[in-house]
């Protein structure tokens, strides 16, 4: 169970009329009709009949007022007289009371928004209701919901419309399908006894309506200008008159439908007589006149309402036009403003570009670029120029290149900075030169003291080999009788002085304390250390950087 607390409620009489109509139908069977006519002869029932007649009239008037109001609210009041006449005709043909058809018509009209379509759909609903076991109100409800996109009700009617068809078809196709299936159902029903009774019942209701209207008019006439007091004074007399009318009417109606010619003729004569006596024609004329007056009044009101609605529509359209005009003007102004701003921005850009020619900063940079600058400096100057000119794309590109260049340079500088200091390769050379000069001087001094030797003999020091050899060869085979000097000369001659050693010049080895080798070793060790520490000293051999 859901607990429901409505915050706001409204009264809705839709369906109440249908229920009332259903009760009337129940009590309107042939048996009850005959019983009602029979009992109408009693005074109490005459009074009850009078009340019922007035009620029928007021109900019908209420239904008509509801229809009129609906059409008026939707700006279609001019269609009211034709619509009401159409519904009354449909009621006569179908045997369904017009005051029960009008709410159903209203429902369909609100769903379709079209008087003609609503009338057709009401007719279709009657056919479907007569051809199936569904109540007319249920069918109308399903149709009106169908127009709102809810076809569940149509599916639950069990009239051969499956869910897939309802999901795919539109309402025009659905109503056409229903017409194809149920066309003629109402006519077939009216051929049956129950159908005829329904028509009679409905016609009886219509009769009661007419009587009720006559009663109301009679009361109004009786009251005249005297108000309720005048009516009270003549109430008793009027009651008898009404009773007489009703009694005769009941008697006449009870004999309707008989096939006996004598009775029919008698009935006709009696009816004509009563008509003459009671002035029925005059009454009918008055009723028609009253209806005509009412319709004229309604038409006049409808015309006024239509004029007022047209005026409101015109004002609303004018309002919409004003709004549209204002919106368009605002949009045009905004566009114009945007164009002007765009134009100003473009002009400013041109001015900035031209003004840049006289910008000292730019001039200096251009001048700097003309000179000999390194690649990195060129990049830096170009970046400065791009920043001054507010060229973001170029600035970003140059900044990236500069960072790359800086990184390369920074790494090389770092590697070089980590090299050990190179030793001075000529350290100690002055001492060595002094020592050399001393040796030369000593040698010169010794040379000056050396004795002069004969030509062809090896010089002392340079012929030690031959002297030593000659000493070992004295008195040996082949050198018998020769002296050491002779043997040495002989050997010198034979060997062409090859082993004399005098041809080789003395070589002075200068000790530079291993400085060059140490420099190379240190450089190598430094590079190895850098590599081991993960900081590579990369040297670009092509650029020299």
């Amino acid at each position: 169970m859901t607990i429901d607390i409505p915050i706001v409620t409204t009264y809705k009489d839709k369906g109440a009329k249908a229920a009332q109509s259903g009760l009337d139908k129940l009590s309107g069977s042939a048996k009850k009709l005959g019983l009602a006519l029979g009992l109408a002869l009693s005074i109490n029932k005459i009074v009850a009949f009078g009340k019922a007649s007035v009620k029928e009239f007021t109900d019908s008037e209420k239904a008509a007022a509801s229809l009129q109001n609906t059409l008026k609210n939707t700006g279609n009041l001019l269609a009211f007289p034709d619509t009401e006449a159409g519904i009354k005709n449909l009621a006569r043909l179908s045997g369904i009371a017009d005051d029960s058809l009008i709410p159903l018509f209203n429902q369909l009209y609100l769903s379709t928004g079209n008087v003609g379509q609503a009338t057709k759909d009401l007719n279709t609903a009657i056919e479907v209701s007569r051809g199936s076991t569904n109540e007319l109100s249920t069918v109308v409800d399903a149709l009106s919901k169908g127009y709102a996109g809810n076809t569940k009700g149509l599916g639950s009617l069990n009239v051969g419309l499956n869910r897939a068809y309802l999901a795919s078809a539109d309402m025009a196709a659905i109503t056409k399908e229903l017409n194809n299936t149920f066309s003629g159902s109402s006519a077939a029903f009216l051929d049956t006894y129950a159908g005829k009774v329904a028509v009679l019942n409905n016609q009886w209701s219509e009769t009661k309506e007419i009587v009720g209207q006559g009663l109301v008019m009679a009361f109004e006439t009786a009251t005249g200008n005297r108000g309720a007091k005048g009516m009270t004074d003549s109430m008793e007399e009027l009651g008898y008159v009404i009773s007489a009318v009703l009694i005769r009417l009941g008697q006449l109606t009870s004999m309707l439908g008989t096939d006996i010619p004598l009775i029919s003729d008698l009935l006709k004569r009696t009816t004509d007589g009563w008509k003459f006596l009671l002035g029925v024609d005059e009454t009918r004329r008055e009723i028609y006149n009253e209806i005509l007056r009412t319709n004229t009044k309604i038409n006049y009101e409808a015309m006024l309402a239509a004029d007022a609605q047209a005026k409101r529509n015109k004002e609303y359209l004018a309002f919409l036009a004003r709004q549209r005009k204002l919106s368009e003007a605002a949009a045009a102004a905004a566009k114009k403003r945007a164009d002007e701003e765009k134009k100003i921005a473009a002009e400013r850009k041109i001015l900035d570009q031209v003004g840049g020619l006289f910008d000292l900063d730019q001039i200096q940079i251009f001048a700097a670029l003309q000179g000999k600058v390194t690649d990195q400096e060129k990049l830096r100057l170009s970046l400065q120029l791009a920043l001054i000119q507010e060229n973001a794309t170029e600035a970003a590109k140059l900044a990236t290149e500069l960072v790359k260049s800086q990184l390369q340079t920074t790494n090389l500088a770092g590697a070089i900075a980590k090299l050990p200091k190179a030793l001075y390769p000529f350290t100690g050379w002055s001492t060595d030169i002094d020592n050399l000069i001393k040796q030369i001087l000593l040698m010169m001094k010794l040379l000056q003291t050396m004795p002069t030797k004969p030509l062809g003999l090896p010089t002392v020091g340079t012929t030690t080999y031959y002297t030593d050899l000659a000493a070992t060869l004295v008195n040996t085979t082949g050198y018998m009788g020769m002296t050491e000097s002779q043997i040495a000369a002989e050997r010198f001659k034979e060997s062409a002085g090859r082993f004399a050693g005098s041809a080789t010049a003395p070589v002075t080895v200068i000790n530079v304390n291993g400085a060059t080798q140490a420099l190379l070793d240190e450089l190598r060790n430094g590079l190895i250390k850098d590599s081991a520490s993960g900081s590579f000293a990369s040297i670009n051999p092509s650029s020299g950087n």
Binding site: I5, P6, V8, T9, Y11, K12, K14, R312
Partner: protein, 205 residues
């Protein structure tokens, strides 16, 4: 308790047809007003009912104790367990029109307590607080015990109308505490939309 208005259906229909933006705006304001009451009611849902520990929902499947399944009634529901999450979820509102009641009235802008356990909390003991006098139960005091336990946790009924049905412990109590502010807000939203619509049409507001 509810306030009857005339012409609301027509106003809504006109707004829907000619000024859907105003209808949307109106519904938005009404939703905000209704949500205040619903949130208040939700905040008063307790984790359990003291003294009714067996009623607490522990996630077990519960079978109906009073009736057996039959081919004609294969989906018999058991007595619902107390689950605060379910109760809170069931406390909500609706802007849709209700079905016409027997008196011919249709409700708009409704506060709803949809869950079964929530409805029990709301209404248990509203008719016979001390148990039915003609109870045929083996434990005729069970009903009174149940009602008193709920009363102890949630407090008494709050009456918001003249009828016996117009009182409750949860949603009715929240509506009672609201003291009509929600109705004011709803009417303010309706009048505002109506005035705007009329002024837009060039009619007097």
């Amino acid at each position: 308790m509810p306030v009857e208005v005339k012409g609301l259906v027509e106003t809504k229909a006109a707004l829907k047809a000619y000024a859907p933006d105003l209808l949307k705006e109106m519904n938005k304001e009404i939703r905000i007003a209704l949500k205040v009451v619903v949130k208040d009611a939700q905040s008063h849902v307790t984790p359990n009912v003291i003294g009714l520990y067996g009623w607490q929902d522990r996630g077990n499947v519960v079978k109906s104790r009073t009736k057996a399944k039959t081919p004609l009634a294969p989906n018999l529901r058991a007595f619902p367990k107390y689950n605060p999450l379910v109760i809170r979820k069931g406390l909500t509102f609706s802007l849709a029109a209700s079905r016409r009641n027997s008196a011919g009235f249709v409700g708009f802008y409704r506060l709803l307590n949809k869950s079964a356990a929530g409805a029990i909390i709301e209404t248990a003991g509203r008719k016979n607080f001390n148990g039915a006098s003609d109870s045929q139960s083996n434990n005729p005091q069970a009903g009174a015990h149940f009602n008193r336990a709920i009363q102890g946790t949630y407090g008494g009924f709050k009456q918001v109308g003249n009828r016996r049905e117009d009182k409750g412990r949860l949603l009715f109590a929240a509506y009672y505490r609201d003291q009509g502010k929600v109705i004011d807000a709803v009417f303010k939203a309706i009048n505002k939309a109506d005035s705007k619509f009329k002024s837009r049409l060039g009619l007097a507001a």
